[in-house]
């Protein structure tokens, strides 16, 4: 369980929030604190006030994969293969292991054909998929994705969903503006003005939003 308690940081104001294992979609208007919350869970930001505990440990002690909402800010290295290999090399994994793992995760992410390409020449969507492969290469316990689907076509979005579902990450936490994607999460958290205003299963959350544009269009059409 991920437990947040008395969080005050920037716009965020969360007295208490528990996130169970599984796939959790965080939704909400622009500027509502989604990225701030994700950074706190990922251990990138320490809250000014409050605490985060993941399975009894500090976020800093957890192997976490992270995807920034700015695709260019995920990429550090010149070639795609070096980029995906970098987390393994930073922890000094043996070279043969690194090569095999890079090929395996690249194949899963559908980016094998990009391994020799320069990262600067990738399209926006390709950058996201390469960054996802990089985030997953160490088999993290927690995978945090900040609007990674906003540059993806439906086929690539399905790849992203499949990859995260099949990953060994116990917690996959992602924010999105695609409510159709959010309906496929195990739980949904709605942030508004820094506050958690709704949380629960997609059915529980969206059933209270039928008058809002957040309500999935496919649900409206199937009424």
């Amino acid at each position: 369980m991920i437990a947040l308690s008395t969080i005050h940081h920037g716009v965020l104001n969360i007295p208490s929030l528990q996130i169970p294992p599984g796939s959790t979609a965080i939704i909400g208007p622009n500027g509502s604190g989604k990225t701030t919350l994700l950074k706190i869970i990922a251990g990138i930001t320490s809250p000014h006030q409050g605490s985060v505990v993941i399975d009894g440990k500090s976020p800093a002690a957890i192997n976490t994969g992270w995807l920034n909402e700015y695709p260019d800010r995920n990429l550090l290295f010149g070639t795609v293969s070096d980029e995906i290999a970098s987390p393994l090399r930073f922890r000094h994994d043996p070279c043969p292991d690194v090569g095999g793992r890079v090929e395996s995760v690249a194949q899963d992410a559908g980016v094998s054909h990009l391994l020799g390409r320069l990262t600067r020449d990738l399209s926006g969507g390709e950058k996201v998929l390469v960054s996802l492969a990089t985030a997953m290469v160490t088999r993290p316990l927690v995978l945090v994705l900040d609007e990674s689907d906003s540059h993806l076509d439906p086929v690539s979005s399905s790849t992203l969903s499949r990859l995260t579902r099949n990953s060994q990450a116990l917690y996959v936490i992602w924010c999105t503006q695609d409510m159709e994607m959010a309906t496929r999460a195990d739980q949904v958290i709605l942030l508004e003005g820094g506050f958690v205003t709704r949380s629960g299963t997609p059915q529980e959350v969206f059933s209270q939003l039928s008058g809002d544009c957040l309500y999935p269009l496919s649900w409206r059409l199937s009424c």
């Binding site: 909400g28 208007p29 622009n30 500027g31 989604k34 990225t35 909402e69 700015y70 695709p71 260019d72 390409r117 020449d121 990738l122 399209s123 926006g124 969507g125 390709e126 998929l129 609007e147 906003s150 540059h151 993806l152 076509d153 439906p154 086929v155 690539s156 503006q177 695609d178 409510m179 159709e180 809002d212 544009c213 957040l214 269009l217 496919s218 409206r220 059409l221």
Partner: protein
């Protein structure tokens, strides 16, 4: 105002781009898979990248403007006011229209990505351009802002607008649909006849087509209209 791609081709490493087609005045949607060449089309259409072969003709287009996929690639100002002035626009009016009212002296980098996109599009849509090319205008925006952008595109009422996007729900009414398929520009034609030929149509539209229903356009309102009509 007509933009014509005549036997245009472009090559980068293994990637090949080819385009033949005429973008007449109106709103054009370009969809395509990741890496299919939508951004390349946008850059060539704007004149920022010259074609390797063939030619691009801009008839009656005095000014063209490209909104790049990533708003952070556009920023030149330190504060929001600086950024808006760099577009030659009035900060007060843009801050009001983008609902960033009191934030003019804040650092642009302190905005969330969605807010930055909102500011950027507020500037782009206020600029006077005959040819407007919007590369992924809806990414990072929440549904309320997507609706605002759709409305502003619709209300613009002049010139040629080319929208390259993966957006599946919040789309404005368009005149023509195009697809990029592995680097090749393919015309689906004018709406509504183009909709059944649109291979990358959003799932909810494909579901309607399977039921024999063709919406009048691709906006949520048009989709709801055809779906509700059959329920009556």
């Amino acid at each position: 105002m007509t933009l014509t791609f005549e036997e245009v081709s472009y090559k980068r490493d293994q990637f090949r781009f080819t385009a033949n087609g005429i973008f007449e005045e109106g709103v054009h949607l370009v969809s395509g898979l990741v890496g299919s060449g939508k951004s390349t089309l946008a850059f060539i259409a704007s004149g920022l990248v010259p074609p390797g072969a063939g030619s691009v003709h801009r008839m009656g287009i005095r000014k063209s403007l490209l909104s790049m996929q990533f708003p952070e690639h556009h920023t030149t100002g330190i504060t929001l006011n600086d950024e808006i002035r760099s577009w030659g626009l009035d900060p007060e009016a843009i801050l009001a229209s983008t609902r960033l009212f009191t934030r003019g002296e804040q650092d642009v980098n302190a905005l969330s990505r969605g807010e930055l996109k909102r500011l950027h599009l507020g500037c782009v849509l206020s600029a006077d351009a005959d040819l407007l090319i919007l590369d992924e205008p809806f990414s990072a925006l929440d549904c309320r802002e997507k609706r605002v952008i759709c409305r502003r595109i619709t209300e613009r009422g002049y010139g040629t607008v080319i929208i390259c996007t993966h957006e599946q729900t919040w789309l404005p009414p368009v005149d023509c649909i195009w697809e990029m398929k592995e680097g090749t520009l393919v015309s689906c034609g004018r709406v509504p006849a183009a909709i059944p030929r649109w291979s990358l149509a959003p799932r909810h539209i494909r579901d309607l087509l399977k039921r024999g229903l063709v919406p009048g356009n691709i906006s949520p309102e048009s989709v709801m209209e055809v779906a509700c009509r059959t329920r009556e």
